[in-house]
């Protein structure tokens, strides 16, 4: 029963393409690849309340691939964390939606990311706090594949299984590209899931655009280990002319391209 989620994902993708056009902002393709992960998390898994974004017992999601935060903003707006009209001022000076996230400025944003590799260590701290304070909640960290090149990720990954923390889940948006090329051409990425397993995590690989697989991976019973979900995705997913073309790491769409995307996504 995932058609509502798939429809939501199309809606969010279209909004992202429009926003990138209006704000002439970069990082569209990396935002599009993680939409299904965000929709599954925010509409099925996370225990959060948009009217109480700072509730102590809320689940935490750290959007660690901060450059793609536009995807998070649209998600949060659709859920009612802030008025959807605010999206029109995305990336504008003085607006509450800066191009790299800032928790002081935007309800629902847990951490100011933008320099890759910080989210997991911070999330590990939040998960540990949950256990120390006996304040049960879950912690999720959404990362990119390029981000897994940062050494700080592996410091956190190696420590996590030794700490008795509340549930901690990493989702890697493995879209195969980074700023200047395919991630597997630049560093020895694969076998990525095995790397996490060897670090003591409960790791699995999924199709990051299948709601069924995403929910399955998130909902299956846990053991004592932290969980890593390696989600194979397509950078720029949603519009054929954006998919798997790394120019879209940087460029924004024209009005015609927005129209073409609307047709492909089935948006009226």
């Amino acid at each position: 029963m995932t058609s509502d989620l798939e429809s939501r994902a199309r809606e969010i993708r279209f909004r992202l393409i429009c926003m990138s056009h209006e704000a002439q902002s970069a990082h569209l393709a990396g935002a599009l690849s993680c939409v299904d992960l965000l929709v599954a998390l925010y509409w099925r898994i996370l225990k959060i309340d948009p009217s109480h974004p700072a509730a102590p017992h809320r689940d935490r999601l750290i959007f660690s691939k901060g450059h793609a935060v536009s995807a998070l903003y649209v998600t949060l707006a659709k859920l009612g964390f802030f008025p959807e009209e605010n999206l029109a001022r995305y990336n504008q000076h003085g607006a509450s939606l800066p191009e790299q996230p800032c928790p002081q400025m935007t309800p629902g944003v847990e951490w100011a990311t933008g320099s890759l590799g910080h989210g997991l260590g911070v999330g590990l701290g939040m998960a540990l706090a949950s256990s120390i304070q006996q304040n049960p909640h879950a912690t999720f960290v959404l990362m990119s594949d390029g981000e897994c090149q940062e050494g700080s990720v592996w410091e956190a990954a190696m420590l996590a299984p030794k700490l008795k923390t509340a549930p901690l889940t990493v989702l890697v948006d493995f879209n195969g590209w980074q700023a200047t090329g395919r991630s597997r051409d630049i560093m020895q990425m694969e076998p990525l899931a095995e790397k996490w397993t060897s670090f003591g995590w409960d790791a699995c690989e999924i199709n990051g655009h299948s709601m069924q697989e995403i929910l399955s991976a998130l909902e299956k019973p846990r053991d004592h280990r932290p969980r890593a979900i390696i989600a194979h995705t397509t950078k720029g997913k949603g519009a054929s002319f954006i998919e798997d073309d790394n120019n879209w790491h940087y460029r924004s769409p024209s009005a015609e391209e927005v129209e073409k995307a609307a047709q492909e996504l089935g948006i009226a």
């Binding site: 102590p56 260590g121 911070v122 701290g125 949950s130 120390i132 304070q133 700080s152 410091e155």
Partner: protein, 302 residues
């Protein structure tokens, strides 16, 4: 001083359940009592100091009060971005304690020297920077830090530092005058205070009377005292590079004033030290022992 740290954090944590101790795989026996009393509030984060800082920020965001402890270079230069972004940018109340600062581990060489930590840490917005002179002042500074809701960096010694202060009410931004004198003002920052007081005694024998201040608060500076500082000339003394540390901070403030006093910064020269022996010999090499300090000061005053 590290024993005083361990003892004081135990006391503070028994009274405040928010306090959590994180160690970068050092000081293990030091925290035996802590671990026995509060096993869920001590974590050895391993030889992974950058992650220790991020972890601390995550703990602090949930309302806990973490303290990160390891040898100074490993909890400063090694983790700078994590301190800058996860701690300072988010204004997380994380207390960072660098042990064995300056020349405390002189014999271990440059990997264990910290001549730049004050320079780097004071350049970060939100960070309070404190260099207590002895164990009692360290304890008071710790009590101050945990009563605030801001990041703090404490630069401490290792062991054997003489007790020089009677401070029990530490406040950031306020220095203590320990001696008065009319020929010069000495501003001592951190555990070098012992050498500075001894230097003052040597100078007194030559009928040179110098004022001596204990300046543990590097950021914020004691602006009131600096605004009324006399007599000139002023000397700053620190077991830190002459570039960028306490002396430079003082110089930044004084240089904007009308007719600032002449300021001479004494500290570690801008070089790596090789084969300099233990702390005592290293201080001699750098001219930071009492005898060298007194002759350098006398020469400037003459």
């Amino acid at each position: 001083m590290r024993n005083a740290f361990a003892d004081e954090i135990l006391k503070l944590a028994l009274a405040d359940e928010r306090i959590v101790v994180l160690s970068g795989d050092i000081g293990n026996r030091l925290f035996d009592k802590f671990k026995a009393a509060m096993p869920t509030r001590f974590y050895n984060c391993g030889v992974a100091e950058a992650n220790m800082i991020s972890l601390a920020a995550g703990l602090a965001s949930s309302g806990l009060r973490p303290v990160c402890y390891t040898i100074t270079p490993f909890v400063t230069t090694r983790c700078l971005e994590q301190i800058k972004l996860d701690v300072c940018y988010h204004n997380m109340p994380v207390t960072i304690v660098g042990t064995g600062s300056g020349l405390s581990y002189a014999a271990l060489g440059s990997t264990h020297h910290s001549f730049e930590d004050l320079a780097i840490m004071r350049s970060l917005p939100s960070m309070n920077v404190l260099a207590p002179a002895d164990a009692p002042e360290l304890r008071a500074a710790m009590r101050w830090a945990f009563a605030q809701k801001q990041p703090a960096y404490l630069r401490i010694g290792k062991k054997g530092e003489p007790v020089l202060t009677e401070d029990t009410n530490f406040t950031a931004g306020r220095w203590q005058r320990l001696r008065t004198g009319s020929h010069a003002t000495l501003l001592a920052c951190g555990t070098i205070l012992g050498e500075v007081l001894a230097a003052a005694d040597l100078l007194a024998k030559e009928n040179i009377q110098v004022a001596v201040w204990n300046c543990a608060s590097v950021k914020p500076l004691d602006f009131d005292t600096l605004s009324n500082l006399n007599p000139a000339p002023v000397f700053t003394i620190e077991e830190h590079s002459v570039l960028g540390g306490f002396g430079s901070a003082v110089s930044e403030f004084l240089s904007a004033r009308n007719s600032p006093p002449r300021l001479i910064r004494l500290g570690i020269p801008d070089e790596f030290l090789h084969d300099c022996g233990e702390q005592e010999e290293a201080r001699l090499h750098c001219g930071l022992d009492a005898a060298s300090l007194s002759s350098r000061i006398a020469a400037e005053i003459a």
